[in-house]
Symmetry: C2
Subunit: 308 residues, 2 copies
């Protein structure tokens, strides 16, 4: 089976939305990526760090999803990364109320030997130097390296970000960040500029407005599934990335036309993530749920017009 | 040939965008609708009003596109409706600088006898009582009545708007207006509430984020074509409506699956409109341009995943 290496945070989140609030619950980019990718027949491994306060049952839950957790370091006497946020009424924006880096402050990822030949590497949003150190540990050039990043690193670690960008195949980024990174307002122009920084593919995530895939010659667009209610957007972007990278690891085909399918699967899985608080919906998701929703995506976007 | 009756403004616009500005040029909802619909083999007729200051060559241009202008009243000594606006840098919002209603203030549309049996009626954005008076003049129940409206009428003529809504088959409206009309934030819920007000179909226009079609049981989504440069968004919504109604008049098929095609053609034509100032691009557009872009829409949105 293909191997997917996932690097990112495993964390606690406390979330407030117009529909309710939670105490500290399981969160973190690698958690969402791993749960989402676990819907494909692949071997995956999370590299991350948690504190001694991290519940054993959460690690067990990840293991039960066939995720290798030998790369999750547990720091003795350490405390797990914690984020607390509150969403505004439209759920499109949020305020960060608390960020406690804790053990993440000194995170030096160590890739387990048996994943140094991973086929696909999914680098969750982290300091670009940390992302780079993972790439340098790989003993075999991966078929595909996917990088997620955010505006914070553009503001604070520009040079390091540019360096790691030059070493990856796909970057996933949201629309505002794509504009910031490229200094172009048009997303078409922004993507073309970012492609010149190294990646062969750019994925621009637009939240409720869908996602776009660009290479030098092609553009593909997938909408977000229109939902009656979005309950909690936390983790939707990471769930998208997990579906995207998991599908590509599973199929081993990195052509543009198969990447389109990966975008659809990413959007498919993200549409479940937002239905409940935190990871709740992702832990109960079945293959049937996913296949049924694929049919909905088809109905939503496919048309047949004969060109006369 | 099928008959399309178009009711709306024929006007002067003065436009300022980050890319330049114009003096008074040809504009108005019915103008854009008519030019867009003229790309289909149909008989169309515009019902509108202009002043004596309106250039004969603009009327001739409409005629040359096979648009019947016998329903455009020219008011002696009257002045044509004039709108002046300035777009912000992102082109997603604009300020209205001048609105001179002029002859539009007393507009009483008179449907020419030979279009009282039109197959499709496209009611551009106007006072709902004016829209209603057109419906009442029809001698044969049209196969389809499409209504465009805006927040101004929700704020000022709610009861009249609700009345005309109950008498049409399709309403086109933007996302913020759909939320205002329904008092629901979720567009899925908003559309369902609006469907209960009378129309069998709701089209929600989201500008650069595409357009959605709803009936009681189905949703379809079409993106806007990603463009390197949007030059002037004026008239894009009306051009969309013209492509939508023109395609439906031409095909005579008002099933959901053919309405999907109409949404694609509307989006297709709107993507040309924004490439130049005002109506400029629409007057030079060829069938080949339109068919080529249909191929681009296909590449942008169509995918093939086998459901295992």
């Amino acid at each position: 089976m293909s191997k997917l290496l996932i690097v990112g945070t495993v964390a606690f989140d406390a979330i407030e939305t117009p529909f309710g609030k939670t105490d500290k619950i399981l969160g973190g980019a690698a958690t969402y990526i791993g749960l989402s990718a676990s819907n494909f027949k692949i071997d995956s491994c999370i590299v991350s760090v948690v504190g001694e306060d991290f519940p054993a049952e959460d690690l067990e839950m990840l293991k039960s999803k066939n995720i290798d957790i030998s790369g999750i370091e547990v720091v003795k006497d350490g405390k797990t990364f914690f984020w607390k946020g509150k969403y505004h009424n439209d759920l499109n924006s949020r305020d960060t109320l608390v960020t406690e880096l804790n053990v993440l402050a000194n995170f030096k990822p160590i890739v387990p030997d048996h994943f140094k030949d991973a086929d696909v590497v999914m680098l969750g949003n982290l300091h670009p130097s940390v992302q780079l150190s993972v790439i340098e540990q790989m003993e075999k050039k991966p078929q595909l390296i996917v990088l997620d990043t955010m505006n914070f690193w553009m503001d604070n670690t520009w040079d390091e970000l540019i360096e790691v960008l030059s070493k990856v195949d796909v970057v996933t980024i949201n629309d505002e960040e794509a504009r910031q990174l490229s200094d172009e307002y048009s997303l078409v122009k922004a993507a073309q500029k970012i492609l010149q920084m190294g990646p062969s593919y750019v994925v621009i995530k637009k939240g409720e407005h869908g996602a776009m895939l660009f290479d030098k010659d092609n553009i593909f667009f997938a909408p977000a599934l229109p939902l009656e209610e979005v309950f909690d957007p936390t983790g939707a972007g990471d769930t998208f990335a997990g579906g995207f990278s998991g599908y590509l690891a599973n199929t081993g085909d990195i052509s543009f036309s198969n990447m389109k399918n990966a975008i659809i699967y990413g959007s498919n899985l993200a549409s479940f993530c937002v239905e409940k608080f935190g990871t709740e919906r992702m832990t109960t998701l079945t293959k049937d749920d996913m296949q049924e929703r694929l049919g909905q995506f088809r109905k939503l976007t496919q048309f047949e017009i004969e060109i006369p």
